[in-house]
Amino acid sequence: MKIIIDNIECEAQKDETLLQIARRNDIHIPTLCHNDALPGLGSCRLCVVEIVDKGRRSVVASCIYPVRNEIEVYTCSDKIKNIRRNLLMLLRGRVPNDETIKKLCKEYLVPDRIKFSGDKDEHCILCGLCVKACQELGASAISTVNRGITKKVTTPYDEPSAQCIGCGSCAYVCPTDAIKIEEKDGIRNIWNKEFQLLRCTRCGKPFATKEQLEYNREKLGEAHVKLLCESCKKAIIAEKLKDIYEKV
């Protein structure tokens, strides 16, 4: 099946998302809540595009829109630019000092002075990626709480969570660096809980929490869990590969 994105003809499979197709064809669509490993949130709405399906125009979120017909797509029409500008203005109202949002605001010509004000220390845009990452990982320590304009992401009762393994996946996927991880003297603090960090047996750098390792052991078995940090793991693999190539 073929679809046309910004006048470029693109090959598409049934039920592929528009965003997937666009990215494959190097057509840029901005996103905040999209992560290839955790797709399907559709909450930030920044990826909206205009489509024409059998003569009917509509605005859809490209990250979750499954392609089923040979449609035409416009990713940066004036209408779309306007929508993105307003969405970014709304986001800047929520997180006035966030650099990621500020940068996007500049790109979409959001005026410097806007009517809306918000908490100057707030960085969370409530996209939900962290919650999804935590769920997929299996710990499910955090969730969205409340609804409507009082919605937020937190641990149950805002207390340190028994389930949290301090892996930091939530912070890693966060598009606006809103989740604070502090590391000092071999202690990691995240979501108000302290974790002892383990050191890499190769380089000696603190790299993972005890709870994280235990969790992985339980899931993958003793044999697969070694006390090595990511860069050392890579280095070891590289060395092995080098050996193989040299032998060849």
């Binding site: 709405r45 979750i64 829109y65 109202g93 009517k115 939900g128 409340n146 609804r147 409507g148």
Partner: protein
Amino acid sequence: MMSRTVYVCCGTGCLANNSMDVYKQLKKLAQKYEADVEVKTIVKATGCNGLCEKGPLVKIQPDNICYSKVKPDDAEEIVKRTLMNGEIIDRLLIYDTALKRRVISHKDTDFYKCQMKIALRNIGEIDPANIDEYMERGGYKALRKALFQMTPQDVISEIERSGLRGRGGGGFPTGVKWRQCSKFQNFPKYVICNGDEGDPGAFMDRSIMEGDPNTVIEGMTICAYSINSNRGFIYIRDEYSLALNNMNNALNQARERGLLGKNILNSGFDFDIEIVRGGGAFVCGESTALMQSIEGNVGEPRAKYIRSVEKGLWGQPTVLNNVETWANIPEIIMKGSDWFCSIGTENSKGTKVFSLVGKVKNTGLVEIPMGTTLRELVYKIGGGIIGDKKFKAVQTGGPSGGCIAEDLLDLPVDFDSLKEAGSMMGSGGIIVMDERTCMIDVARYYLSFLSEESCGKCVACREGIKRMLEILTDICDGKGIEEDLELLESLCHTVEEASLCGLGKTAPNPVLTTLKHFRNEYYAHIIEKRCPAGVCPELTAYEIDKKLCKSCGLCAKNCPASAILGKRGEAYSINTQLCIKCGNCIDSCRFNAVKVKKEVGK
């Protein structure tokens, strides 16, 4: 002696007026005097015939007498005079404001005569706790007809031809939905009844579930047969305890009679229904959020790019319709699509139930053919505005709908005409507003409602509503500037286009329609810094017209701040320092002597 049956309305409205005590007293006295009468409670919809406000209502059959505002002390007289001797007690009869006299039966009122009952056909006529009464009025005949005289395809074609459109809001053709779902050969399939009625001002679904639960069960079973589904769910708002109760009871009775469960009426077809209690979230009225809720999740909607008929509950093909839609099904199957098509307008067939509320004389549920004009609704059926004040607008469609101004009063009401006017049918709430309603306050009210009820998942809806609400609050507080209107409009369009689900997409409607039809009121707030309706406290001042004041003192009596002074024989006056601008004085004055000042001195 003639045998009589007494029906005491025990719907929520009448219960609030002590109808249970009336019922007990009547029952006790009927036994005491050994009158040959049967006393029954009957659950009628709140405001069923618009007479709830005249409750408790007591109906006596077969005489067809309807008494209003009955007190427990009246019971003895009713038993002795009416039940035993057939006499009519004049002072208890309903006073019809249009006819300017008392009427024996509620059916003699204009309010009742203009209506045509299909979905509400049994409400107030049967005891919902007794399946036999439903069956005596033709209940479950349609199911029998469908199962034994029609193929599933016949059923779908009949519904398609009838032109029935979903009564829950969107107006999607019901038959088309069933047809689409029937084509997917992916089992199990589910049938859902959306009873999570949440639009403030609408209560027809509640009244049907309370007053005629079996019609919903029958409608759903017919659909299940046509799409080959064996399992259904009825999602009922948690606040509707009576509806939950009556529906549960009806399901049990239907099972006992073999009308539900395995091998229905020996046809070989299995279908059963389960009730799911809602958790108190308006957004769960949105079909995909409702399904999330049934699955045991937080009720966050999903995008509808793939429809529920293909992937709905637990990812399976699902037909979801609302209560009123289900209530129409048995009648269409029994009387045929030609009959149904003959009612209504070109593209909106049949009738629609509206809850006519607000500043109108007769409030309540009314069922009228599609295409009836708003003017008929407000002035003929509704009897006009309370206190004969000036009509300002009607709001339809709840938080997703809009406000329609006086110039559109002759609009024939149907799905398409309302949409064209910027509003929507929604579930059928019609809220009448008069000169004492501030349209900015109304728009703000809906946004404030939605700011709490939005699921909060997507940026457009959550942040957009929050900021629009801020702007409107500023305007109501007298802090608005002209540029706000432009920003407001721009935000409206973004929220409309970019929101994930229907709640967000329609959220700007109350703002957009008031901006369109009542822009002058916005300017009055922003530029003149006054609220013409006298509602927004910061922009309001009242005065008493000395010429009109009859010095009755009613305003002073009703003033919670003791801000009104005066004595008999002299005109009263308001101490503006003490006044809290609640408006009680205006609303209580019978001579229109209390006025909203044209200029607010600051």
